[in-house]
Symmetry: C2
Subunit: 338 residues, 2 copies
């Protein structure tokens, strides 16, 4: 492995001149540049990125810390992040926290040690401790998908509250009154926002007596469990609103298991789509967020923060992506209220 010294010697210049040619920084005359490039080619020189990082304090690496790459929403978001990062010459390290604050802390610590240039974080909790750590290290940070309690940070997310309102309103307009929302953990902002949007719609349409929601996990198991619980009560809902795609899939499975027909017996709608790549039948009526674009935008914002790190720390952005109601079969048509 030839080093910058070998190239310098062969080209008859100083190492720093080789560095300038390689990095396209500073002034180098054309003739010298040509000599250096010839030497580089001849020796097959490849810069040592680690030495560069040690000296320059930059790694050209960002981290994406989120719950689980196996969830289609985050999976596509990750692709948006990777594509945007690659375009800007950055690498991405991906970490799955499985919604555990402890795992999140571990990873953040590791990533700060690795001296990543910036972090994209989907916090496991609205009171994330890791954020303090990141701030102490002065590492640029963009929060993705969710809000956190304490402000003063850039956020890129979808409109959970508005989406939940829209979806609830749609059900109400079909004639539903007994609408049960099975939301995610109450330590996560998106599930709280979705509850709020749901409640607001119920209130606006005079259905405050029918408000009925649960906080559980953002998982299939949780969706199935809560569904079984809900349908063991004497008053059963006519519509189920799943707080994310996994919850809805779990609900669907539980309902089928119990012999309910969808949408004839129960209407089912969901926050978050299952992208067409993954599903044999587009069946579910959903509020769809644009995960790819969210990831892409968050990455671009993060990288712009990395590049002018010396700007004022004020002026944090909160970018909220609009969501889209996609009507399919699972919500059924107008219903008769007896």
């Amino acid at each position: 492995m030839p080093t910058i010294h070998d190239v310098a010697k062969k080209a008859g210049v100083a190492p720093i001149t080789v560095s300038r040619v390689v990095n396209n920084s500073g002034y180098v005359s054309d003739s010298v540049r040509a000599r250096v490039n010839a030497a580089i080619d001849e020796l097959g020189y490849v810069p040592n990125i680690i030495a560069r990082s040690l000296r320059s304090k930059r790694t050209n690496t960002i981290a994406l810390v989120f719950t689980d790459i196996t969830n289609p929403f985050f999976n596509i978001l990750a692709r948006g992040v990777e594509d945007a990062a690659f375009e800007a010459g950055f690498n991405v390290i991906i970490c799955n926290t499985d919604e555990s604050q402890e795992q999140e802390d571990n990873y953040i610590q590791l990533l700060l040690q690795k001296q990543v240039d910036g972090i994209l974080l989907v916090p496991a909790d609205t009171h994330s401790k890791s954020i303090e750590l990141i701030r102490k290290h002065n590492t640029p940070l963009v929060i993705v998908d969710r809000c956190i309690e304490d402000g003063g940070v850039d956020i890129v997310r979808g409109d959970s509250e508005g989406g939940a309102y829209q979806l609830t309103k749609y059900l109400i307009e079909l004639g539903h009154k007994r609408i049960t929302l099975m939301s995610g953990p109450n330590k996560v902002s998106t599930s709280v926002d979705r509850v709020n949007g749901y409640k607001q719609a119920m209130l606006d349409y005079g259905l405050e007596d029918y408000i009925d929601y649960f906080h559980g996990g953002y998982s299939q198991e949780s969706g199935a469990d809560v569904t079984r619980q809900v349908f063991s009560r004497s008053e059963k809902p006519t519509a189920i609103f799943g707080g994310n795609n996994l919850i809805s899939i779990g609900a669907l499975a539980a309902l089928r298991e119990m012999g309910y027909k969808i949408p004839d017996d129960v209407a089912v709608v969901s926050f978050d789509d299952i992208p067409e790549n993954f599903s044999y039948f587009p069946f579910m009526t959903v509020i769809a967020q644009p995960p790819y674009e969210i990831g892409q935008k968050a990455t671009q914002l993060l990288i712009s923060r990395i590049k002018d790190n010396d700007e004022l720390p004020t002026g944090f952005q909160e970018i909220v992506f609009p969501v889209e109601l996609i009507i399919r079969e699972s919500s059924g048509g107008k219903i008769n209220n007896s």
Copy 2:
């Protein structure tokens, strides 16, 4: 940020002694160890991983280079890789090639520059040039999911040929004769293996006159296109065999579009399952590979190669995971041959 020097000074020892304590290497007396640890805690010292890598030539990072994390099969495989790597104290860099040999070469070059300790590669082509490059750098390599032309490398994959045989046989036993296989690119070993398994089953059951297969992309678009083409012929198949999950989804969409009912008009089966996370209805009869386990095993093998890099280069392993036939609705029941 305190350095190893600051700790050494505070503890009244040499930097190398601190290094020994931190890395648990070499002899350090208990009393000195205690003093050093106290100093570390007091100063909040965190080792600089980059300096360590520069000196030690190890990065504790491996790379996973594959086609697309958005494909459920690879997505779950990635999770297996990440979990296994984390357990062994390694980080993972993920790169999507989108089946492009050029992208693959670019990434491999980058990764070698980054001095990753090992590479997991799903090659875009059975004649992958990147492999030469990796060998030159003496970087440990494990090929995942696919074979390559030139041997002398560790491989971890599923049994494509056996799986295709099994699935074809199942269709034949249901009474199907006109079975069309829509396989992936012929530059990829899995799609060739699946064709071979299919052909063998057709031969074994005396259906050599009915052999009918296509090579296309491993994508929905390709699956849909080929399906339209196949069903525009006068002799239409009674069963479609999709060469991977995306092809099958595309085929399903095209068939629905053309008004065919599944499985009544056409039976459809697929190589690769859609994991339950991703699908509202488990509907497709499939050959399922264990992607998580494949990723996990490949990572463990890679890491063991990294750890005893000085062993003989002989004795490469080829680990072939068995596959499982899962019968669901899309294949229908016995049919009558007129």
